[in-house]
Amino acid sequence: MNDSAHLVKKLPNDIGGVEAGPIVMAEHTLLPWEKRCHALADLLDFKKIINTEEKRRGVEALGATVIGSLSYYERWIVAFGNILFQKGILTPEELARKMDEVEARHAGAGEV
């Protein structure tokens, strides 16, 4: 038996019916950036830029390792970046530069 076969038969999101442990009832209130990320997802959907199904596929395309390591909204924002690159709406370079700019701004604000 090839033990990689399950990776091909079922993509990372397709977990209905697989074995899993007990349900952990813990809940958390969304962090401000997580709520902004959710609102962004809704707007991208309303404006027909990224719909729910594209978002789900975008998360799935991150692969099992990334999915398993990132939190829910971390996966979303990374998926949005990739989808926006694929659609030619953003370029990786643009995003990298903007992230540097935002980071520098945060660092600057932190020293005030």
Partner: protein, 216 residues
């Protein structure tokens, strides 16, 4: 000089704190960057994000509870709600801010309904708000469709063996809401009092709607 002292006091110079801060901030920075770039391109407006956050904050299980309570007291409304869940909610002034359809699943003596999204986290957000973490995580998504009775037991819910359990798997376009059974002993209760018995988890289907212990 003072800048250095300032940083030091707040631990910014410690490598450990820096790593932690960076790890926590990377995705938040990405979110800000994506949002600002889209705004610069005129694709979204900052006011739209704020407005949508207000919409999200306005959606709580109290809306779903209002729908359920109305369905319990008004058979005509219940029939319309089951025929078209979205139109039923809209009749009560609950707007749908997305393109999703809503199917309301009525629990009866013969059938108990449970909702899940095995692929991700689709949920009737316009009427319940955002889903709890456990709804989005693997154990519930994986197990609800294969061993619903064991899953229900973890929520303290036992459904008699002669009651069928139906699990409905949500999609991007079709969402579900469980209409729980009205608890016995609530004859003559006001709609407002009934709505207080209806919890988020009862509308997901993992628990029944019950009387408060003080009344039981």
């Amino acid at each position: 000089m003072s800048a250095h002292e300032h940083n030091h006091e707040h631990g910014h110079d410690h490598p450990h704190a820096e790593i932690t801060a960076e790890a926590a901030g990377y995705y938040e920075i990405m979110e800000t960057a994506v949002r600002e770039l889209l705004a610069e391109k005129g694709l979204i407006g900052p006011a739209e994000i704020r407005r949508q956050i207000e919409v999200l904050d306005s959606r709580t299980p109290a809306l779903g509870a209002k729908v359920v309570a109305r369905a319990w007291v008004d058979p005509g409304f219940r029939a319309r709600l089951i025929a078209d869940g979205r139109a039923g909610c809209e009749e009560l002034g609950i707007s749908f801010y997305d393109d999703t359809q809503l199917i309301v699943l009525e629990n009866t003596q013969e059938v108990h309904n449970l909702i899940v999204c095995t692929l991700c986290s689709c949920y009737p957000r316009p009427v319940l708000g955002l889903p709890p973490d456990w709804y989005k995580e693997k154990p519930y998504r994986a197990r609800a469709v294969i061993e619903p009775r064991a899953v229900l037991a973890e929520f303290g819910t036992t459904i008699p063996d002669d009651v069928e359990i139906r699990v409905s798997d949500s999609t991007a376009m079709v969402r579900y809401l469980v209409l729980p059974r009205r608890p016995e002993g609530t004859e003559g209760w006001s709609e407002e009092s009934l709505a207080e018995l209806v919890t988020r988890d009862a509308m997901i289907g993992v628990v029944p709607a019950t009387l408060p212990e003080s009344v039981q």
